[in-house]
Symmetry: C2
């Protein structure tokens, strides 16, 4: 039985207890959320070294780091180092999106490397197998190839899979009529559209959705219903292709939940700041409260090299508005495959966004560390500040790079540190 | 006559025309905004090499970079390099907050170095002169010293000055009754409070506000009414000390405007995300629409080393809600005096925030570059992308650090680039 089926019968499982403890909530809260479809626990029963990851309403906002090789950069050791760094700096989940080199070995090594929750896009597997193993083109994938890829990932212990089931003839037609600047920027979406055009058939993951449910149910994998029409630029955001796909994903959510399969929904991409709240509201309403897993959103298109920041802005607003799970973006987005430093920068930026969002939406205890940090700042307790920092090493490195004189403050204000001046003033007032 | 006095008489000045052209609005719009107090043009009549900077409702959100020496780091050349880098990467204004070394020489050199708008906090001058020239303590400043510092800055061509006029006995009392964690973190606020406690007098800049108006009017300097009670941590935000000070600043705004002096208001610091909109609304209402110059806001306390990101999140939300002018924060905030790289990172982060906010609040033409960027992305036109990027050098460096094979995309997706796959799919559909 899946966690959803247990929850519906009123059973509190071991995974629900672990999730409840990690969140500081009652196990009943987790169980009831799962039963209602507003919480999922991402954990494949085959992922023996994995930590069950609860995602959804009322819980801490989670963050995911995408890693993975490409045809231009196939170094497995670099990807494993990215996985370690992502987890070290606080990623809750890692998606292995490898499309170059020994992708099966990379995926298995990534699963083995950490205890993090693991996601993937199995369609890449089928596309690669068609191109590399069968020496054909992406469009030559068969429906069996696509499902074989999914089973392979399930067997390897992947906890959640992105499937672009809402990319259908009707949504493609809507997109073409609308006239987008960037069309489709999702790789899975693009592969599907090319396949449909060549084979003159609708999307097999939509057509054979029940088969997909059977497979995922067997492993209790969480279905992450992907947004093939996620906007690739601000001008394309919140258009009819995106929203029509979301309606379809909401309908598929109901079918999956009825079959006992846990579901979350993927969303945004590039979205102007003033449209983010509406995007969250639409997803929550159209998908009946299913957890929302959001890429970015990036609030401008003109900051290549700094898209961890454009993503942190959008992600914080999205989390505050109810997004449950943020996918990071690194400084190298749109420019190159990220390196290890990019992964660290991307993870920290997303943690900032998730944390700011958690404070805003009132997640229990979210402000505790901020309050402790403020107290350490006031006392000029530097070790205390480092220990509370999201990245203690970087905080220490920056301060220690700029030697202070004997005032105990930092070199920003030197002897005129406002904290010290205020201490003097308050002592003077108290004495007078 | 000041720009405000001209505007009230219906006159469109040369500076208003320059401002209108740089904003792409009608000169009448600038004139009427100045007359209404919702727009200021920051420009001291003595700042012969300076560019008049329009700030306010309906205009592009501006950004400021703080630079300046401290008692631990007095290198003038480094500060001049920061000024150049700040302007190169898009700062509209530079505040010289030097409190160490040859501060008069630094200020004059900073004014001469670029054409940017210049701000300062003249109280630091008086405090330093008391400590260093008179060999006394901050508390030994006389009222004349304080005004002498203001005149010195005015004579040097400073375009706007921060004055903490709202730090009074009544606001200090309110803060003490409330019980803050961080008390006062503004240096000008702390100096003032220590002075008041020692001298048993109220704030001279509040008591002698008319004298302040006389001086600023003579140079048409813009008064930037400082927030001595700006919250230093999330827990202290939007409390009665902060809001009471804002009420006082609103009253002083009316007095200044009645005297023909241009005014803007300074605000935030550390503010939880969900309180930012309310802070902007309160300022706009309590200060009758005067332009709002906002530090940060920083949306969490626990990210030292990354406060340019916590600031960009808050700044974008503030700008979207109506803030007119953002003060950057660098990665070194809370840890050390920023270096030159910090200035670049801080300026770019604030530009991202301001730009995202401008798109959200509908500033005319704000989306143009985003649309052009999207078109260049779709075409894989890399030179076009670099030329549109906020930081072209960094975009180029990242991409070129990761050599691509002959597919023309980038190493992120390699041969499986979604743009290319989609082009194939659309061509296939068009042909069929």
């Amino acid at each position: 039985m899946t966690q959803l089926e247990y929850a519906r019968r009123g059973v509190i499982t071991e995974k629900m207890k672990i999730a409840a403890q990690s969140e500081g909530v009652a196990p009943e809260f987790i169980r009831d959320g799962i039963a209602a479809g507003t919480i999922v626990i991402c954990h494949n029963i085959k992922h023996l070294n994995g930590t069950p990851l609860p995602v959804g309403t009322g819980l801490r906002t989670k963050i995911n780091a995408n890693i993975g090789s490409s045809s231009d950069d196939t170094d497995m050791q670099k990807e494993l180092e990215k996985a370690r760094v992502a987890v070290k700096y606080g990623a809750d989940a890692i998606m292995d999106l490898s499309t170059g080199g020994p992708v099966d070995e990379i995926r298995r090594a990534v699963v083995a490397e950490t205890n993090a929750c693991i996601g993937s896009v199995p369609l890449y597997q089928a596309a690669l197998d068609a191109v590399r193993v069968k020496k054909k083109a992406i469009v030559d994938m068969t429906v069996d190839d696509i499902f074989a890829g999914i089973i392979k990932h399930a067997e390897d212990g992947v906890d959640f899979i992105t499937v672009h089931c809402g990319v259908t003839r009707s949504t493609v037609e809507r997109m073409k009529n609308e006239g987008r600047i960037m069309d489709v920027v999702s790789r899975g979406g693009a592969f599907t559209i090319e396949w449909m055009a060549y084979n003159n058939q609708d999307n097999p993951l939509f057509e054979h959705f029940d088969k997909l449910l059977e497979i995922t149910k067997e492993y209790d994998m969480t279905l992450s219903l992907g947004d093939g029409f996620r906007p690739g630029c601000l001008a394309d955001a919140t258009d009819r292709a995106q929203i029509h796909e979301l309606i379809l994903l909401g309908e598929l959510t109901q079918r999956a939940q009825a079959a006992g399969v846990q579901v979350m929904i993927e969303g945004p991409g590039h979205v102007p700041l003033q449209q983010i709240q509406a995007n969250i509201l639409l997803q929550k309403r159209l998908c009946h409260g299913a957890p929302f897993y959001v890429l970015g959103p990036l609030v401008t298109d003109i900051a290549p090299g700094y898209d961890h920041i454009t993503c942190a802005i959008g992600g914080a607003i999205a989390a505050a508005a109810g997004a449950d799970f943020l996918c990071y973006v690194t400084p190298s987005e749109h420019l190159r495959l990220p390196d290890v430093q990019d992964v660290r920068d991307g993870v920290i930026a997303s943690r900032i966004a998730a944390h700011a969002g958690d404070i805003a939406k009132g997640v229990k205890g979210a402000m505790n560390k901020d309050i402790q940090m403020a107290k350490c700042r006031k006392k000029l307790d530097w070790e205390g500040q480092y220990s509370l920092a999201l990245d203690p090493e970087r905080a220490r490195t920056l301060r220690e790079s700029s030697p202070v004189s004997d005032h105990g403050a930092c070199t920003m204000c030197g002897e005129f540190c406002a904290y010290k001046v205020m201490d003097d003033a308050m002592a003077r007032q108290a004495a007078s």
